[in-house]
């Protein structure tokens, strides 16, 4: 048992961005875990995903490509991961904290009887050869330090807790292809429904401009869309805005299971009810604009403006637009 295996999840032919954070963790841990870093690309139609994963500078690249892995079918993806672990016997398996990834990790850990650490924010190997990790519990109110003894360890790092690694220029690692040989499936996977969201979805966007009850209606969201477009991001909303029918449900931030972690989160007219804070607090940088100086959102924001959202955001948009014109002219 040696080495680190990184599960590269693929969704709609694209490598999920969480992969690069896992690469960082792998590189950190490779100092104390020998055996090299292997990347597992699992899915269907994997040409571009494999090429991208190959730029990670890993020691090995394993690919399981099969039509049965096209849909986000947890049993199938877990089976592929279990198969690879059986063949490679890694010491540490890193899985992204996505709906599919979290389930694959759980199924893997239970099948193998291996310790599972979810939402790990810090990770290290102890001198005795155990694994030490820090993770949030009780909805984030408490930080727990946990220790696992002998491996293999299945770890699901917390989104945003580790900086994403830089992708290399060239595809260095040559892929090793495995034939998918799962045991008979107990579940079956049927039709998938996608909710069409205008523009980038809130979960994937690097920049989210979010509006709340303070906006008073659906029209102000047009201004937020302009700002989001300038920044290449998505428009999100608080529960109040969704409940009042101003935006679609899919844009809601702070619903259970919809924790987002963009680089930049701009909260406009959002007071910061507890559920919303939990949903966005993993963001790298939070900017809050609110007319109420006592709004709870300011407690977790990096930058704050106390003022009328319309005045502030109109000027914000205008300044950005002017700068981007200048940048465009200069280019």
């Amino acid at each position: 048992m040696s080495g680190i295996l990184v599960f590269a999840e693929v969704d709609a032919r694209e490598l999920r961005p969480e992969f690069w954070e896992l690469v960082t963790v792998a590189r950190n841990m490779s100092a104390t875990i020998g055996g090299g870093i292997a990347v597992a690309v699992i899915g269907a139609d994997l040409e571009s995903a494999t090429r991208e994963a190959a730029c990670a500078g890993a020691d090995a690249l394993h690919v399981i490509e099969d039509d049965r892995l096209a849909a986000p079918w947890p049993e199938a993806h877990a089976a592929a991961l279990i198969q690879l672990c059986g063949e490679l016997a890694p010491q540490l398996i890193l899985v992204p904290r996505t709906i599919l990834g979290a389930e694959a990790a759980a199924r893997l850990a239970v099948r193998g009887g291996w310790p599972l650490v979810q939402d790990a924010m810090q990770l290290e190997v102890t001198p005795e050869g155990g694994l030490l990790a820090v993770r949030p519990v009780s909805g984030g109110a408490v930080a727990a330090t946990v220790r696992a003894n002998a491996g293999p360890w299945v770890v699901v790092p917390r989104p945003r807790a580790f900086a994403p690694a830089q992708s290399g220029e060239t595809a260095e690692t040559a892929p090793v292809r495995h034939v998918f040989a799962p045991p008979p499936f107990a579940t079956s996977c049927g039709t998938r429904t996608r909710i069409e969201v205008e523009g980038i979805s809130v979960d994937r966007a690097k920049v989210v401009v979010s509006g709340g009850g303070g906006l008073g209606g659906p029209e102000p969201f047009a201004l937020l869309r302009e700002v989001a477009d300038l920044l290449g991001g998505a428009v999100g909303a608080s529960r109040v805005a969704v409940d009042s029918g101003w935006v679609q449900q899919a844009q809601q931030v702070g619903l259970t299971g919809k924790t987002i972690a963009p680089d930049l989160y701009i909260a406009v007219g959002i007071s910061g009810a507890i559920q919303h804070l939990v949903g966005c607090s993993s963001s790298q940088v939070i900017v809050a604009v609110n007319s109420d100086p006592a709004a709870p959102i300011f407690r977790i924001a990096n930058y704050g403006v106390i003022g009328d959202w319309k005045e502030v955001m109109t000027a914000f948009r205008d300044t950005l637009a002017a700068r981007s014109h200048q940048a465009g002219r200069a280019a």
């Binding site: 949030p136 984030g140 807790a161 507890i274 804070l277 607090s281």
Partner: protein, 680 residues
């Protein structure tokens, strides 16, 4: 002559029989309904009838209508003599009121009454047709027109009958009938006289009688039933404290009101008493905000539904199906804030709020159906003893640095300060509580709080129909309170005060309870709190918003104003103040409901507050504080341009600033940081 007499008798009999059938069908559900104990005490009930029926107390709040009704009422009352004559003479030509003065003062009275009634009818018609006030929208105009027409027919019939009789000659009452005499003279000068006049007199007598009989037969299907039902309805009105709702026995179904036959007798009588005057409608804040609740239509629909089920045929057909979901929509039931403006305005003391709460009881306790926001708040009360799920505060956080004494079981204090869930757990409302503590300290009041042992009084649970939860809370709080000793309770919140004072008696909790503004008023008056000389307050004009549960529910309008005056502020009165105060929209569980953006009661009130032109709006209730601050932003937005929201402050904050300077307003404590923030 005999034929005419026989005919007259037959017609009267027929009319009596017909109307008896109609009245019986009205009486049937009343007699079948369970009776409430409303006959005692006698004296105040009788006095109420005197003041409100004879004295027209509530009616006179609208002088024009009041005067019109006054004339109509007393005119009609006196014309009962004419009715007696009609029926008496119908039975026997020997009948006469001469013994008691038929041809003399009675005749004069009848003439005067006739004039009064005609003027009143003209006034009524003018109001209905020309002014057409908004409160009549939805009222049955056809019914009103028929009544006015019938009254006119009765009066004209009587006048013309008397005039023709006088013209025929030989009527001893001639000198006592100035109006009829005038008419008689006009008739005579146009050539009418002798037998022709007598014949016309008979004809008009018939008109007079037929009009009266038509009236009798028509009444059961008309809002004019209030003539008969009004006095009993006022007599049987609820004399219990306004803020006390009946405690149901939860083991005895049905719980609440889901079928019109479950209505109590007086509650059903209410439906017959409605005159469709619309005074409730024009004051209802939910109606003003465009919500699907109109208290007048609620009563009318329930009445028509009751009539339909009895086969009498109400004004609107198609209301015979279900009560809830049919005659009354569920959204209607949930829109009410229980502010009581409707009940305060109703001249016949109809009880709108208990009916709404009873229907809520059925929905909440028998069907488990509540609007989302409200059910979440109720679940929270049940699970953690307060409705503010998600608050980062625990009950003692607001005063951790103030060293407030927490009263343990067995301990004694002078004053028990009941903080309430909102003042303890809402960041804005906490400031008011902190200001109050500073004031109590300055006045050297011996006080203590319950701390974590305090649980929600359950007011919102009871008002949203969850009496099961209310009774759990009441029982627990009474146990907590009775384990400690105190002279009286001072409550920060009027809802808590109302429940502790008026409703906990049913659970063994009898306490002397006052509101914090009442205590502050006492302290200022007795000099225990003194305003330092020459201190600049900077608050010259303040508009005071009367909280429903302090004002209408518990009759306290003076104490908060006295405190403001003592604090050196000039109070500007809003148009809707005192008993006419316009609710902030937070009562009846509405503070927890998800409000559609275009139906905001609090924005309307905040707009009214802006219009009053005062610097600051003062409140005495944490819910009013929250609702008006939020509404204030909406009102500023609607005002457009760079309009700033009006400042909203609790009375305690204003007094604290006046006594201790502007910096005295203690900053609220920072809550613990929200989860998800882990050291990186």
């Amino acid at each position: 002559m005999r034929i005419e007499l026989t005919l007259r008798l037959l017609v009267i009999l027929a009319a009596f029989v017909w109307s008896a059938f109609r009245f019986e069908r009205l009486a049937r559900p009343l007699m079948a309904a369970p009776a409430e104990p409303r006959l005692r005490p006698l004296a105040p009930r009788a006095w109420g009838v005197l003041v409100n029926i004879l004295g027209h107390a509530r009616l006179m709040r609208k002088p024009y209508s009041g005067l019109m009704h006054f004339m109509m009422f007393f005119g009609f009352l006196f014309l009962l003599t004419a009715v007696a004559q009609v029926f008496g003479e119908g039975v026997s030509p020997l009948f006469s009121l001469a013994v008691i003065g038929g041809p003399t003062w009675i005749a004069l009275g009848q003439d005067v009454s006739a004039v009064l009634l005609l003027v009143a009818v003209a006034m009524a018609a003018f109001q209905r047709v020309v002014w057409a006030p908004a409160r009549f929208a939805g009222s049955n105009q056809r019914d009103a027109a028929i009544i006015l027409a019938l009254v006119t027919a009765v009066v004209v019939g009587m006048l013309m009958q008397n005039a023709c009789h006088l013209a025929a000659g030989g009527d001893p009452s001639a000198p006592w009938r100035p109006v009829s005499s005038l008419l008689a003279a006009a008739l005579v000068s146009s050539g009418l006289g002798g037998t022709a006049a007598a014949a016309w007199a008979t004809a008009f007598a018939w008109l007079h009688m037929l009009a009266i009989l038509a009236f009798l037969v028509y009444i059961p299907g008309s809002k004019h039933l209030h003539m008969l039902v009004g006095i009993p309805n006022v007599f049987l009105r609820d004399l219990a404290p306004a803020g006390r709702l009946v405690t149901p026995d939860l083991e005895q179904p049905p719980l609440g009101l889901s079928d019109i036959r479950q209505l109590g007798r007086k509650q059903a009588l209410d439906l017959y008493a409605c005159t469709e005057c619309g005074r409730c409608q024009e004051l209802c804040p939910a109606y003003a905000a465009g919500k699907p609740l109109n208290p007048k239509l609620l009563i009318m629909n329930m009445r028509d539904h009751l009539l339909e089920t009895q086969g009498v045929g109400g004004h609107r057909a198609g209301l015979g199906g279900a009560l809830i979901g049919g005659a009354v929509a569920e959204e209607t039931i949930w829109s009410c804030t229980t502010c009581r403006a409707c009940m305060e305005a109703c001249p016949l003391f109809i009880e709108h709020v208990p009916k709404i709460v009873d229907m809520r009881r059925h929905l909440a306790m028998e069907e488990g159906r509540l609007p989302d926001g409200i059910s979440g708040a109720m679940l929270s009360i049940e699970q953690r003893g307060h409705p503010w799920a998600g608050t980062p505060f625990s009950r003692l956080d607001w005063c951790r640095d103030l060293d407030v004494r927490v009263l343990a079981p067995g301990e004694t204090t002078d004053t028990l300060l009941w903080v309430g869930c909102t003042a303890a757990l809402d960041a804005r409302a906490q400031k008011g509580a902190r200001a109050l503590v500073r004031l109590l300290r300055a006045a050297e009041v011996d006080f203590a709080i319950l701390g974590d042992a305090e649980a929600c009084t359950g007011d919102a649970a009871r008002r949203t129909g969850n009496d099961y939860l209310f009774q759990l809370q009441a029982a627990a709080n009474v146990t907590t309170l009775n384990a400690r000793a105190f002279k009286r309770v001072v409550s920060v919140c009027p809802h808590c005060m109302n429940t502790l004072k008026n409703e906990y008696k049913d659970f063994g909790g009898v306490y002397d309870v006052v509101h914090h503004t009442q205590l502050l008023s006492e302290l200022m008056e007795s000099g225990r709190l003194r305003r330092p000389q020459g201190v600049e307050i900077g608050l010259d004009s303040v508009a005071f918003h009367d909280p429903c549960y302090l004002g209408r529910y518990n009759g306290e309008y003076q104490a908060p104003r006295a405190v403001l005056a003592a604090a050196g502020s000039a109070v500007t009165e809003m148009e809707r103040s005192h008993e006419r105060s316009f609710c902030c929209g937070g009562g009846g569980g509405r503070a927890f409901a998800v409000e559609p953006p275009n139906e905001r009661i609090n924005v309307i009130r905040a707009t009214q507050a802006r219009a009053a032109g005062a610097q600051v709006v003062a409140t005495a209730c944490p819910f009013c504080l929250m609702m008006l601050e939020d509404g204030s932003k909406g009102a500023a937005r609607a005002a457009g341009g760079n309009a700033r929201p009006q400042q909203v402050l609790d009375i305690a904050e204003i007094l604290d600033a006046a006594l201790h300077g502007a910096g005295g307003a203690a900053a609220a404590p920072r809550p613990p940081l929200p989860p998800g923030n882990v050291a990186t």
